[in-house]
């Protein structure tokens, strides 16, 4: 099949890839953004992502309804997030260590429970066809936009709005900026963080559901390959702004789509090198944005405070 697009296929494939690949990034980073704005880091989102992927796939397979799977993935995320928050509220618990523990726990549990679902094929989530007007198959395919991508965009903007304009948003930020000030006003910091972490977990769970139910669209143990962790790094890069999390996710999605896009036009050299693009990008961004002498502007005041 001759495409007729030539090298123009690369940006087009990258656009399509950005939409597909970025969706889990959007969900995890927007959720983590909320959690971190409340003053807590949840590094366990990688585990939540994989648990979400597994449970969504299993439920979709058993019930035949992929959307029920998404719902269950969100519930699993809430449970894992609440578990993290609950443990962190115990005295002298470090949230980074707890997060790493829960990451391993979530991953291991998902592999253990998910064994029976590796072979069967579950129903997929649908997509909206924005490319109906085009007769070029690549364009048509690139503009297949999945529902969750749209949900992700909406939730990024909604979260940005809520953090600025609602009582609830101000209270979350206050808990993240200054425990002293929050307590003086009578804000129950622990409960605020519990809720923020649980909702953050729900987002990560939905991100996992996307992985197993839309793209790549199957359940196996190599599904996530660290996307949950990269999304946490993304939040720092995005300076804790939900809308910037969205743009950063799209950037990462596009980087992740470079290598399949090049392959689709026949450039196979350096396939693995290009596959590493998102990881190299993560590293480069972290180096570029971090400095031992400068504090990150926009970082919530209570974040990373070790007690």
């Amino acid at each position: 099949m001759e495409s007729g697009l030539g090298l123009w296929g690369v940006p087009l494939a990258m656009l399509a890839g950005a939409i597909r690949v970025s969706t889990p990034f959007i969900f995890v980073s927007v959720g983590e953004c909320l959690t971190e704005r409340s003053g807590r880091i949840n590094l366990g989102l990688e585990g939540t992502l994989i648990m979400g992927a597994m449970s969504a796939y299993a439920i979709a397979l058993l019930s035949g309804s992929p959307w029920l799977g998404v719902l269950v993935a969100a519930a699993v995320g809430v449970a894992l997030g609440a578990l993290h928050a609950g443990i962190c509220q115990l005295p002298r618990v470090n949230d980074v260590a707890t997060g790493i523990g829960l990451m391993l726990f979530g991953t291991g549990l998902a592999f253990f429970l998910g064994k029976p679902y590796i072979q069967p094929k579950a129903p997929n989530l649908g997509a909206i066809d924005f490319g109906w007007w085009s007769s070029v198959p690549q364009v048509h395919q690139a503009l297949q936009v999945n529902y969750l991508f749209i949900v992700g965009i909406v939730s990024a903007f909604a979260l940005a709005w809520a953090l600025k304009n609602t009582r609830w948003g101000l209270i979350v930020r206050l808990a993240g900026e200054s425990v002293d000030a929050a307590l003086a006003i009578g804000v129950p910091v622990g409960r605020v963080r519990l809720i923020a972490t649980a909702i953050g977990g729900a987002f990560a769970g939905v991100g996992g559901a996307f992985l197993s139910l839309y793209y790549p669209g199957s359940w196996n143990e190599g599904l996530s390959s660290g996307q949950g962790l990269m999304a946490v790094a993304l939040v720092i890069f995005a300076r804790w702004e939900p809308v910037r999390c969205l743009w950063a996710s799209l950037l990462f999605g596009a980087a992740g789509a470079i290598s399949p896009a090049l392959q689709s036009v026949g450039i196979t050299q350096g396939y693995y090198l290009f596959s590493a693009a998102p990881y190299v990008l993560t590293l480069a961004l972290m180096i570029a944005t971090c400095s031992p002498e400068r504090a990150l502007r926009g970082a919530p005041g209570e974040l990373g405070a070790v007690r």
């Binding site: 304009n165 609602t166 009582r167 609830w168 101000l170 209270i171 930020r173 206050l174 900026e177 200054s178 002293d180 000030a181 003086a184 006003i185 009578g186 400095s291 002498e293 400068r294 504090a295 502007r297 926009g298 919530p300 005041g301």
Partner: protein
């Protein structure tokens, strides 16, 4: 509009307050009566119990004994929120506004009963209307982190007024302000007490402010009430005597008359970025000669911290050069040893010590890799380290359980002494000190200042960075004022005009 949002001033009486922390009686049967609309000062040294008293009154601490009468009626205050509901507010020495939020957000947040969705247009208008009734205003949409110290303090006070607090307790409110800013804030508050809109209790150790603004003063000493007087009845000498009791203050060390020697430290067009990447020190040039103390005055946050960190090797310069004894200096350990540079930064427990290590180890931080502590630069020998520490502890009268006690167990003044002992023991050619007496009591202050003058008399070049203008005036041979990262004024101490220095500190 005629000040609709302000309530009238209450009277407050604290009766027989006692509070013990373990074996220490922080407050012992202290009673204070503050009339409605009074401007009342609480005066006392560090540890006299001023803060403990007001924190008990505000419900931060539970007093062991004591009753509170507000407007003559007995009230119970077990929690700060109860105090707030009764219209009592406190402005702290450190800032409590959230730095990453705007002034508007901070004010709205602290209000009770926020609506679920906040209508910023309405809130902004409401705050603007409120500011129309207040003596000073602050910009609404600036993040608090970007406000100057004086503006932050004003914002803290305005927020208390916005929350309709009729009695304000101010804990050393002017410690971060220039003299002019302090006068502006205090005189407007004074006017409000005259109009019976406010009652003010101010914790201070500045006689000038007591004399200029306060009606009555209560003096505490070591947890006990010395007395409450009308300010008009007291002069400075009797106030000082009530505050410190009959105690001999050590005479400050005679400064030798000596002409400054060769230039030891030369700073040329130095620019340094702060923690958010903005230039905190800009194009600063400074020279310090042997045998002179150069005092750097200025309100905190004008680049002094970054300057000291750069000289101490904790921060790199964006541009410019430093020279010591005419050679380029980049603040490496090797250069500091060679040029005999000693440094007493502010908050020494954080900036110059390893809190968990012992006093002996901390005292050896400069010399642990040289004989006798280390015969070959690889092995460490404890015994010589401990002996050296014992000598320093003795010579500098560091109060410690022993050389092996962790240094974090020491009180602030003794950490200060321990670091000063370490830094001065090498008989350095260049001594860099920042706020060396912050938070110390009279005796410790006199002693540390004497040590600094001694170093100068012996021929060391001393850079003294201090927020305490009296300290600068007392110790310096030459005074420079830092404002906004630059030198705003340079004058010999002998010819110093305090008014000009104050104006330079305020950027005029």
């Amino acid at each position: 509009m005629t000040a609709p949002s302000l309530v009238s001033a209450p009277s407050l009486e604290l009766i027989s307050f006692s509070k013990r922390f373990g074996a220490l009686a922080a407050l012992d049967d202290v009673s204070v009566k503050i009339a409605a609309g009074a401007f009342h000062a609480l005066l006392g040294e560090n540890g006299a119990g001023k803060s403990t008293l007001v924190k008990c009154a505000m419900g931060y601490y539970a007093a062991d004994e004591g009753e509170i009468l507000l407007n003559g009626r007995q009230v119970t205050i077990d929690h700060p929120r109860q105090a707030h509901e009764l219209g009592l507010g406190m402005v702290y020495q450190h800032f409590t506004l959230v730095p990453n939020m705007t002034v508007l957000e901070n004010f709205v947040l602290s209000r009770e009963h926020l609506p679920a969705v906040i209508d910023w247009t309405v809130e902004r208008q409401r705050l603007k209307d409120f500011f129309a009734t207040t003596p000073f205003i602050v910009p609404l949409d600036t993040p608090v982190a970007d406000l100057a110290a004086g503006q932050k303090q004003k914002a803290e006070i305005l927020r208390q007024l916005y929350l309709k607090r009729g009695l304000l307790i101010l804990d050393e409110p002017t410690s971060v302000l220039t003299p002019d800013e302090a006068d502006e804030v205090l005189s407007t508050l004074k006017q409000m007490t005259r109009d019976k809109l406010l009652t003010i209790v101010v914790i201070t150790h500045k006689f000038r402010e007591v004399n200029a603004f306060c009606d009555t003063v209560t003096i505490l000493r070591r947890g006990k009430l010395v007395g409450t007087r009308r300010v008009a009845e007291l002069d400075n000498d009797s106030m000082a005597e009530m505050m410190v009791g009959s105690r001999e203050t050590r005479a400050s060390v005679e400064r030798e008359q000596r002409a400054p020697g060769k230039a030891v430290l030369q700073v040329e067009k130095l620019s340094v970025a702060d923690t958010v990447g903005q230039l905190a020190v800009e194009d600063l040039s400074l020279e310090i000669r042997a045998g002179e103390i150069v005092g750097v005055a200025g309100v905190s946050g004008n680049g002094q911290r970054e300057l000291v960190e750069t000289l101490a090797g904790q921060r790199h310069a964006e541009a410019g050069a430093m020279k010591v004894h005419g050679e380029p200096y980049t603040a490496t350990r090797r250069e500091m040893v060679r040029h005999k540079i000693a440094c007493l930064p502010e908050e020494p427990l954080r900036n110059a010590c390893v809190a968990e290590m012992s006093v002996a180890e901390n005292m050896a931080l400069r010399s642990f890799d040289q004989p006798p502590a280390s015969p070959d630069g690889v092995r460490l020998r404890r015994a010589p380290m401990r002996d050296a520490a014992r000598r320093l502890i003795e010579a500098y009268r560091v109060k410690t359980p022993g050389p092996d006690a962790p240094i974090r167990a020491l009180s602030g003044g003794n950490v200060q002494r321990a670091v000063l002992a370490r830094e001065l023991s090498s008989e350095g050619d260049l001594l860099i000190v920042a706020n060396p007496c912050f938070g110390l009591d009279f005796a410790a202050v006199a002693e540390i200042r004497a040590r600094i003058v001694q170093a100068r008399n012996r021929g060391a070049a001393v850079l003294l960075v201090s927020e305490d203008l009296d300290e600068i005036l007392q110790l310096s041979d030459r005074i420079v004022v830092m404002f906004d990262g630059r030198l705003a004024l340079e004058t010999p101490a002998a010819a110093a005009d305090v008014g000009a220095i104050g104006r330079a500190m305020a950027g005029h």
